[in-house]
Point group: C2
Chain length 227, copies 2
Amino acid sequence: MNSSLKLSNRDRAVLMKAPFLAGLGNSALVRLMSMMTISTLPARKFVLREGESADAFYCVLNGYVRLFRLSREGREADIMVCAPGDTFAEHLLFSDNVYRCNAQTAEPATLARFDMQAVRDLAQQDPEVAKALIAAVSRHLVGTMDCIANDRLFTAPQRVANYILSRCPADGSSASIRLPFQKSLLAGMLGLAPEALSRAFSSLRRVGVTVRGRIIQVGDVQALRNI
Amino acid sequence: MNSSLKLSNRDRAVLMKAPFLAGLGNSALVRLMSMMTISTLPARKFVLREGESADAFYCVLNGYVRLFRLSREGREADIMVCAPGDTFAEHLLFSDNVYRCNAQTAEPATLARFDMQAVRDLAQQDPEVAKALIAAVSRHLVGTMDCIANDRLFTAPQRVANYILSRCPADGSSASIRLPFQKSLLAGMLGLAPEALSRAFSSLRRVGVTVRGRIIQVGDVQALRNI
DNA sequence: GGGATTGATTGATCAGTATCAAATCCCTCT
DNA sequence: AGAGGGATTTGATACTGATCAATCAATCCC
């Protein structure tokens, strides 16, 4: 875990466009960034663990971070996957003081770390920061509610289709997208075993979806929308 | 839908103890309550529908409200069940402007309605209100994340056991609880068909759980914890 | 350039839950 | 208290996805 205060240009751009920071004025931005530390982590590294005292939250600048919980027998359930620009654990600012799940990098990643207490203080005095926090937590809530509805309403092929559609340009009859991460991570996001994801992809072949490595080709976007 | 400005003593007590309002100082409280309207709804009444413009959020004062989404074929998936003291749709204050799911009373209910724009304005100028909002949304986020983890990690009997345990006093070897609503609502909360809930209860008989109507008796709480 | 490692696919089987139908229970209303 | 009707339970069946094992593909690495 290589920690530093320096920020690459690319990471800085991601940070400034992150929903949590994008709407902030200059003074709040400067103060937040002054209390931030950057770290670069290898793949599969735990960022934090369930039960640990929650004294920081994070913003992903590069790579992907997987939030998951463990059962007693050691099975894992992904709860959320954070992409560049996403924050995580920020919702513990005004509630719990213990992390409620594990966070692990899914590949080499760069994170910005924010001290919980410092941001809490800042949010108390700067309404703009408070507003940004509400927006960030709200966005996460919408995402998790969508996730529950997806899990409960749709089968594996339908969830995969929904995911593909969510990454297709809205118009156009055909499309080609590239998965930004391994299929096993996508499987976890969708609440599936990797084998089930594989089978879902192959069942989508009959509606014109072709998969080669990380490239997914969609022959007929509209056909995919009808299940 | 009988609307009024009056508040029964019981409803007022619930409102004041609701997490969203509990921490507020007097002036914020007075202003919020002045922009609030109370309504009493019969069972199975829709409070709001997916796609409608989101111009109010609600606090449940009495009864239960079910938030759910519909599939194209008309199947329903519960996303959250709100008990007295819970707010819902408040997370749309600073993000979306359209309701993302349906809300329906599960039985006769009393709700406090808050105008979205009015509270938005109030939150902008009163940091205490903003903080209360963050806390409310955060609490919901924790709940939905728990829900995802439960769905993905546990079987039906385990989820039912978890629910029972969450309503048992922490200590004591035996316990007796009363469901505050119909079993079909519990089934939906746990992501189960009513038949599956019924079978889960009967499979818990062998660990000393007895169900008669809404009364659930637990012979050995500790045994229930081990699955 | 060939093992070795890791990730993905495929096949076979099994567990868990949905669904549909029928019987029964419980609550409410009069 | 008894009747009526919705809620719940039970039974039979089908389906979905998990799991385990084996194969295949791609990448890594001296």
